[in-house]
């Protein structure tokens, strides 16, 4: 049973610990700090010979929390996006610009943010300055957000209560009453493994970083549904080959979608908002890559064509 709004959440995995025993809570803001224990990271439940078969996925416990989050978000009409990148790609600037733009485009749509960083509430403060609610999650020495942290933080957001207050029916599985952005710890390695219950993982890559990043960090780009190429206003000043970057990303993940954005100048923001707002063909990031079949949507076919063209281009074949 959810303790905030009383909604039924029977599937949340049982933890043997009460939250106040494993996380420090800022009473004023609701920010969560997971790194205050002796180890500096959060570890769930650390507390004649025969062979015992276990045969269990180590990430299984996180996956159960993530599936609970996914069901919980759906019950509240919340679409959640997990934003991932290296530090300094402009995730927080993109989110601030997105919140301002959504206020014009969809003024009644509630938007909230969960901010993940090892330390400080600087990013949550930047989000709160836009007027949007935010919960900062400090991971201590932890290098990523996990699904339990996101569930704990979501329970503290007003967004959680918002769509549940009245008799609010959700006739369509893809109905969206609110957006939740989860800004992960800046890190292109570790967060790729942890499903948070999001609708999609969005990897943000800025043009100041180099077009080889998808090949250097393939696990992250394999897990993403969308790659946002940020800071494109700086393209005249840096040696960054956009087409090569996209080909590198599609070599790892043929179906990855790509948007070119400048969060500071506004380029590409309309396409980014259109991508975020409700639509029926969004693929949950936990699903395997789509397989093209006769019933495939036009979008999937376009992805397939782009992938094949990239493969041909990489093989040195001219496409007329």
């Amino acid at each position: 049973m959810c303790t905030v709004c009383g909604c039924s959440t029977p599937n949340r995995p049982r933890s043997s610990e009460a939250p106040d025993t494993y996380v420090a809570v800022d009473r004023a803001t609701g920010d969560l700090h997971y790194g205050t224990g002796a180890a500096g990271v959060s570890v769930v439940g650390l507390g004649a010979t025969r062979t015992i078969a276990i045969e269990a996925d180590v990430l299984g416990a996180n996956r159960r929390f993530a599936e609970h989050n996914r069901a919980h978000f759906a019950a509240h009409g919340v679409r959640a996006f997990n934003l991932l990148s290296s530090p300094g790609s402009g995730k927080t600037t993109l989110l601030c610009a997105t919140i301002h733009a959504l206020r014009q485009r969809a003024p009644t749509l509630p938007v909230s943010v969960i901010e993940g960083d090892q330390q400080t509430s600087v990013d949550a403060d930047r989000i709160r300055a836009t007027g949007a609610p935010a919960i900062q999650v400090n991971t201590g020495r932890g290098c990523h957000l996990d699904a339990r942290m996101v569930g704990d933080a979501f329970a503290r957001l007003a967004l959680h209560g918002h769509t549940h207050a009245g008799d609010h029916a959700h006739p369509h599985a893809d109905a969206t009453d609110a957006l939740l952005f989860i800004e992960n710890v800046g890190n292109l390695v570790c967060p790729a493994l942890w499903d948070l219950g999001e609708a999609a993982k969005v990897v943000v890559l800025s043009v100041t970083e180099g077009e080889d990043k998808p090949l250097k960090y393939p696990d992250m780009f394999a897990a993403a549904t969308l790659m946002v190429l940020n800071k494109i206003d700086l393209l005249p000043h840096v040696a960054f080959d956009v087409e090569r970057c996209i080909a590198n990303a599609r070599r790892i993940n043929p179906a990855v979608e790509v948007l070119r954005v400048s969060a500071t100048r506004g380029d590409g923001m309309d396409a980014w908002l259109a991508w975020l707002l409700p639509r029926s063909d969004v693929r949950p990031s936990a699903q395997p890559l789509p397989v093209v079949d006769p019933a495939a949507t036009e979008a999937a076919l376009r992805d397939r064509i782009a992938m094949l063209e990239a493969a041909l281009a990489a093989a040195g074949v001219e496409v007329p």
């Binding site: 180890a39 990271v41 959060s42 570890v43 769930v44 439940g45 650390l46 507390g47 004649a48 010979t49 025969r50 062979t51 015992i52 078969a53 276990i54 045969e55 269990a56 996925d57 180590v58 990430l59 416990a61 996180n62 020495r141 932890g142 290098c143 990523h144 996990d146 390695v189 570790c190 790729a192 493994l193 998808p214 090949l215 250097k216 393939p218 696990d219 394999a222 599609r250 070599r251 790892i252 993940n253 043929p254 890559l289 992938m307 493969a311 990489a314 093989a315």
Partner: protein, 115 residues
């Protein structure tokens, strides 16, 4: 460095098994870290060494099986072996490949001691 958290999850899984199956000491723990699982076996071993003192895993021999990554190459219409998601097909040099195996980190089994 996410291996620290994963090592903690492994210790917890073994502690849960100890509570369920009533044993006090583990002689052997066998793990599987596939080549495409996103886990560095050496870092995982280092993290486990740091975490196991005082737990049922204290003194246990820990082995980590490292199955190769496998992927489907559409051009060869065959399953091939790869070391990372960034690699091209070792036979035809083409890509993309679709990973099919070696993607998991799992606890396989335990040899436990009933004291």
């Amino acid at each position: 460095m996410h291996e620290i958290g994963l090592a903690g999850d492994i210790v917890r899984m073994v502690q849960d098994a100890a509570a369920r199956d009533r044993f006090s000491r583990v002689a052997q723990l066998r793990l599987e870290a596939g080549a495409l699982a996103g886990v560095e076996p050496d870092a995982l071993r280092f993290a486990l060494d740091a975490l196991v003192p005082g737990t049922v895993l204290d003194g246990a021999e820990i082995t980590i099986d490292e199955p190769p990554g496998t992927a489907w190459c559409g051009q060869c219409a065959a399953t091939v072996e790869i070391g990372s998601r960034a690699e091209a097909c070792p036979d035809c040099g083409g890509y993309p490949l679709r990973p099919t195996g070696g993607t998991e980190l799992r606890v396989l089994d335990l040899v436990v001691v009933d004291d």
